[in-house]
Point group: C2
Chain length 228, copies 2
DNA sequence: GTTGATTCAGTGACTTTGTCACCAAGCAAC
DNA sequence: GTTGCTTGGTGACAAAGTCACTGAATCAAC
């Protein structure tokens, strides 16, 4: 139950679609959900687990990834504020096991909904349905995109594209990330990432130091991320 | 509209969950849907297309696959009688583009539903919702499984597992399939499939002739499909 | 500061997989 | 037969993953 008006306000701000719902629905929502805080690194769900609640993220981000038996991993998508892990939803609604891992990438505040309410609101609330379906579709597309990248794109291009994408979100010139973390992002291994980065460095495209990557020639990187 | 009692019967037989719906719902369904027949090889949906109807398959199978710019492809899943392409559903419900290709693998008879009805029934019919969610969850798991296989499993093991899986569905000792078709199934290339098969042949695990693969040592194949 | 542990990165040898170019065998139509 | 198409085979190479090991940077404790 959430009764603090300020917390209610935060929830509505993070999930704007709720403002389009009837007063009664919001009242029920406030009554039925709970606020949780999870620390960085907290495992939310492991491969094969059965989900018992749906988290709606207020702050922080979750990371959903696949883990191979050899220890390699790949990020499938992230759950940002205003979103929810819809794979969890589909598992709840169908009673299946969750097919991946989910972990708190930063400290997460979330509102958790029980399966019974998830199901009920699918039946009673049009905006809720729209919200959930929008998320399902966008996750599906993300996962399909990952599959496409893994199968059909060269690693150096994927890496360049990823670094360029980060640059837009991170302030400052450098990207603070280890080779291991990059490998886990892209589903590769540390050694290979190191090699590819070294190669790019030798071509003057970027500079690397322990835990930091500085992009030097961004136009060239953008060009080569698109086509060999 | 479907008014032939025999066709109505076939529809109910293929989609047993419909028997759990009220008479009125089934009447509306029969009134709103149309029966279509599609020939083998008919392209149902291409990458980036916007779906305008949801097909419920009565007979035949559809194949959903990703195609890379280099021409390589990989099968994501198949749509069998009694199923539907729920990625299409999610595209319809969210207005997004379809992120893959879909083609008729055999002649397909399907009942097509318009987006308006797909949406409306999600609101009004509990069994319809259950059906759709069950499918979404199982597709998600299939696609996650493909990703897992591509990233973390060796090709020879995937190939053995696939051949063993086929053996259960196909009568007779041999599997009639070209190396090219196997490559498209697993997201590899013909040359590599040829090499791997040749290798297995040299180890006495199977025998290949043009368009035909005969599994010889099934216990050994089963063993090696599990672990190197 | 120095020491030691820990994390992070680099390297070489090797395997697996994908790509390219080209050729050969099987099959069908004429 | 000959011609043409489909299917499969091969070798050389490139890209990526694996393994074992080394070295370098960082940090905490002393």
């Amino acid at each position: 139950m959430i009764d603090d008006p300020w917390q209610r306000r935060r929830l509505l701000d993070a999930f704007p679609f709720l403002r389009a719902t009837p007063e009664a629905f919001r009242a029920e929502l406030f009554a039925q959900v709970a606020l949780v805080r999870l620390p960085v690194g907290q495992l939310i769900c492991h491969d094969g687990a059965h989900c018992t609640q749906l988290p709606l993220v207020l702050t922080g981000t979750g990371r959903v990834y696949k883990l191979g038996e050899n220890g390699r991993e790949i990020t499938l998508y992230r759950v940002h504020p205003g979103e929810s892990c819809v794979v969890t939803t589909s598992c709840i609604l169908s009673g299946r096991a969750f097919p991946a891992f989910a972990v708190c990438e930063s400290a997460v505040e979330a509102v958790v909904v029980r399966p019974a309410e998830v199901r009920r609101w699918m039946a009673t609330s049009e905006p809720w349905r729209e919200y959930i379906f929008g998320l399902i579709a966008s996750r599906l597309q993300e996962v399909f995109g990952v599959l496409d990248a893994v199968l059909f794109q060269r690693l150096d291009q994927r890496l360049m594209a990823y670094l360029l994408g980060l640059r837009e979100t991170v302030s400052g010139r450098g990207i603070h990330m280890t080779h291991q973390a990059l490998a886990a992002e892209l589903g590769s291994s540390r050694e290979v990432i190191s090699r590819v980065l070294k190669d790019m460095e030798s071509q003057g495209l970027l500079r690397t130091t322990r835990g930091l990557i500085e992009l030097l020639d961004i136009p060239a990187l953008e060009l080569r991320a698109r086509e060999g």
